[in-house]
Amino acid sequence: MQQKGMRRRALAAAFPYTIPIFAGFWFLGMTYGIYMNVSGFGFWYPMLMSLTIFGGSLEFVAVSMLLAPFAPLQTFLMALMIQARHLFYGIAMLEKYKNTGWKRFYLIFGLCDETFSINCAAQIPPDIDRGWFMFFVTLLDQIYWVSGSTIGGLVGSLFTFNTEGLDFVMTAMFTVIFLEQWRKEKKHYTALIGIGASVVCLLIFGPDSFLVPTMAVILGLLTIFRKPVERAGGLI
């Protein structure tokens, strides 16, 4: 009984945080499903891929992989490069995902950009069970993504809606979370390192391959400037 009440309160606390993700995931998920549909794949493709991969950018790229000649090694390396940023999410969530029992497996499985953002930045009230809160954030996000891409795959391009620009909801969400982090830091070394490294690498390597070099530069700078960053304090 008590367990049930605790779960319900965690769900109620988690849901509001996921509303922007609902908007973004339904829009992007449907776009993805429609893209697969018009590329000649049945709805079970986007549905199963969203269930098992649960990573938007790779799922989009996977469509062209499925249409190209079979090249498993190339697919593997490409997928690793696109998904490498999860390594950072894992390191950042090592402490937070501790002592969450069986839920830990699912939390790690579902660690996409948006789930990471909420679970990393949310101020979970002390009377709410942390494990269940993060579990519901992950579960709701995946439900939004899978249902969106399945609907897109079912209706295909029959469905027209003037939602141009709705994908900006993700940019706005990351901007807000970035601002919140900015406010928490006393000095802004790490935030500036993140922005600076990304912009410089984007200019040098271009939009399709700047993430891995960006991560390497961030890691290098955080290592070199460990002393001043730690002394500045205010890290979450």
Partner: protein, 108 residues
């Protein structure tokens, strides 16, 4: 591509994704204390990552052609201003998104 090859291709994507998600947790197990350096990274990374994610969302914006990134810039300014003013996450996100949609659908 045959059905089996499709299954393998999707399976490889799943495997690569899960490798990147599970690896840190495998290397730094719950049972042993996490090395100091990794703990430091865990605390220092989030702000850098969110900076990276904002740029990642904007990676296809072209400053030299089209609308020169103006709708993105304006919508981000609206999002930030709204957030500094009201500090309501949902409100800031909604304001920025609606602003961006109006700009790309009606102005640019």
């Amino acid at each position: 591509m045959s059905a089996v090859q499709q299954v393998i291709t999707i399976g490889v994507c799943v495997f690569a994704t899960m490798l990147t998600r599970f690896l840190p947790f495998f290397i730094f197990s719950e049972k042993r204390p996490t090395p100091r350096y990794i703990q430091y990274l865990g605390h220092a990374l989030p702000a850098a990552i969110f900076g990276m994610l904002v740029i990642y969302c904007l990676k296809n914006v072209s400053l030299l052609s089209g609308s020169h990134g103006l709708p993105e810039l304006l919508a981000i300014l609206v999002t930030a201003a709204m957030h500094l003013w009201k500090r309501q996450m949902l409100l800031s996100i909604a304001a920025g998104t609606v602003c961006y949609m109006l700009l790309v659908q009606m102005v640019f």
